[in-house]
């Protein structure tokens, strides 16, 4: 029998922004499959043209309310690269520290409120909260601790205003940072306990041979800078992104699809970072990963929830280390003088590699901007996952198949608002 079936999700739940999914099956064969992003394009790259180089961090922060630090950091890196300036010692540590806050806040939101309900069979975190109030309260508190770290360094947690090209407008006192220590210690132990909880979730038996792409940095789990590496031997400077990756437009997405020029999809985000850098995790985070049964590499996208929890633990431990060694820098920023040049910057947003490129003139005006967010890069990988996931599961009734496919999409914590600078699901069977 080869009846046609169509499964359509017109509006995907528990993702950031507006997206949909469409699947057309003929018997057991996938005839058509699309991860659709219909959130309107946001034209940020065009807004930047003609603006001062120093405005890029504040303008691009507005692309996302959940990961503004990622945008600010990639923009600062690019502008500093254009000017031939490098941020070192205390200012570099502070940039890494505020980014830890964003990882904690963003991952806590995804793990507890967007993803855990999938594995426990709840429609939402609200429904889950009645049965797991302590877990949901812990998630709220973790998110708040990440937010607080962002506020102390950034002035406020959403679209922080204290970050600038060259460093900060004001650096925190040691006492301000030390006040965060008890909460971060609690957060680290809570992450350890959460890892034991999520490691026991029922994960579908599904693995894929991904090309993982993430930043790598000698001696540390890369967050705010590094070279772009992959598990298949890619090792390039950020400025060479354009030589190895390309973007194209497809009719069903308002976000450009990125792919490797050598062909095919690649995967960015926590699984990629973990695969490339797990040997550089902090000691407690490493133990937590091991206790949770993660090997050196994890290729089951559903287990990304466990990796996110390990990264929460890592971010807490790293923040504690940075605070412990903190000495207030003599000046809050270094001067950055623009010059006629092109600057490249990248950092590891909670959802993966975030690449910026700016062409600026001698007066510091932006001539061209190019921003590639993680969700854009993951679109092909999401579609490849779904295509690989469906065969062998076509006996499932539509609602069950749809639920599992939506879950597969949520493994990526897609941020559609960022990618359009998406999620509805349609399954058609025929």
């Amino acid at each position: 029998m080869s009846a046609e079936r169509e499964i359509a999700v017109d509006y995907l739940a528990r993702v950031e922004g507006e997206g949909a999914m469409y699947l057309k099956l003929k018997g057991d064969v996938v005839e058509d499959l699309k991860f659709k992003i219909f959130e309107p394009p946001r034209f940020f790259e065009a807004f930047l043209v003609g603006r001062r180089f120093s405005e890029a961090p504040d303008i691009t922060a507005r692309i996302c309310g959940i990961c503004p630090i990622a945008y600010q950091t990639s923009a600062c890196n690019a502008m500093e690269h254009a000017a031939g300036v490098r941020i070192t010692s205390g200012l570099r540590d502070l940039r890494r520290l505020i980014y830890c806050g964003e990882w904690i806040e963003s991952h806590a939101l995804h793990v507890f409120f967007l993803h855990a309900p999938d594995f426990l069979g709840y429609e939402s975190a609200i429904a889950m909260a009645s049965d797991f109030p302590e877990r949901v309260e812990a998630g709220l508190r973790l998110k708040k601790i990440g937010n607080r770290l962002m506020s102390v360094l950034g002035g406020r947690e959403i679209h922080p205003i204290n970050i600038r090209v060259g460093g900060f407008y004001r650096t925190p006192t040691r006492a301000e940072l030390e006040a965060l220590v008890p909460d971060l210690e609690w957060a680290l132990e809570t992450a350890a306990d959460t890892a034991r909880w999520v490691a026991g979730f029922p994960f579908p038996d599904f693995e894929r041979d991904y090309e993982f792409v993430a930043l790598q940095h000698p001696g540390e789990y890369a967050i705010q800078e590094g070279r772009i590496g992959s598990n298949r031997g890619l090792d390039i400077a950020v400025e060479d992104w354009g030589e190895h990756f390309e973007e194209s437009h497809v009719a069903w997405s308002n976000a450009l699809h990125a792919r490797l020029k050598t062909g095919g999809s690649y995967h960015v985000g926590p699984l990629a970072r973990y695969a490339l850098n797990s040997d550089r995790l902090t000691p407690r985070a490493s133990e937590i990963a091991e206790e949770a049964g993660l090997g050196a590499v994890c290729t089951n996208p559903f287990r990304s929830i466990t990796v996110r929890v390990v990264e929460i633990a890592f971010a807490c431990e790293e923040a504690l280390r940075l605070i412990d060694g903190y000495e207030r820098p003599p000046r809050p920023h270094v001067e950055v003088e623009p010059r006629d040049s092109v600057g490249f910057g990248a950092s590891e947003a909670p959802r993966g590699l975030l690449y910026h490129r700016y062409d600026i003139d001698g007066e510091g005006a932006i001539r061209a901007a190019h921003i590639v967010p993680p969700t854009s890069q993951n679109q092909l990988s999401i579609e490849d996952d779904l295509r690989a996931y469906v065969p062998g599961r076509t006996h499932l009734p539509d609602h069950e198949l749809q639920w599992q496919l939506e879950q597969a999409i949520r493994c990526y914590d897609p941020c559609i608002s960022c990618a359009t600078h998406f999620l509805d699901l349609t399954v058609e069977r025929g």
């Binding site: 309310g65 409120f113 609200i126 109030p133 949901v136 309260e137 608002s417």
Partner: protein, 141 residues
């Protein structure tokens, strides 16, 4: 008794700022203008006995209509309050607080029916009038 007024919305999106205006103008209770994440509402109202939450509403009623909901009585009507661009809105936070047992003893939600939420736009005259009326209701109560 600790009474608190919380206005939510975006001050840069025309009528969406209505709740913030109300919170800024009330005199009979502390007013908090909250233009941040929704989950934080639970922390803001911690310890209060009566909370008045003012938000923008979109139900198809005439612009400037003031909706009033006693949140303690049961689940909020779906689709009335404006949603947030980042997946968590006021209605979801109220329901989460209900599940967690973190609703204040009395939570009164006023929704002002809005029309124009253009970025950088002004408040509509009907919404301005509703703000005046609601401030009178809260302060006269």
């Amino acid at each position: 008794m600790r009474r608190l007024v919380i206005g939510v919305g975006n001050p840069d999106r025309g009528d969406d700022g209505a709740g913030l205006e109300v919170a800024g103008r009330v005199r009979s209770a502390p007013g908090i203008r909250h233009d941040n994440g929704s989950y934080e509402l639970m922390d803001l109202w911690e310890g209060a006995d009566e909370v008045i939450l003012v938000d923008a509403a979109r139900s198809g009623a005439p612009v400037g209509t003031i909706h009033c909901i006693e949140a303690n009585e049961g689940a909020l009507p779906g689709g009335l309050l404006a949603t947030s661009s980042h997946s968590v809105g006021v209605a979801e936070t109220v329901e989460l607080a209900r599940s967690l047992g973190r609703l204040p003893p009395r939570l009164l939600i006023y929704g002002i029916e809005v029309s124009d939420t253009t970025i950088g736009g002004p408040l509509s005259p009907e919404v301005e009038r509703a703000i005046d009326e609601l401030v009178g209701v809260i302060d006269g109560a």
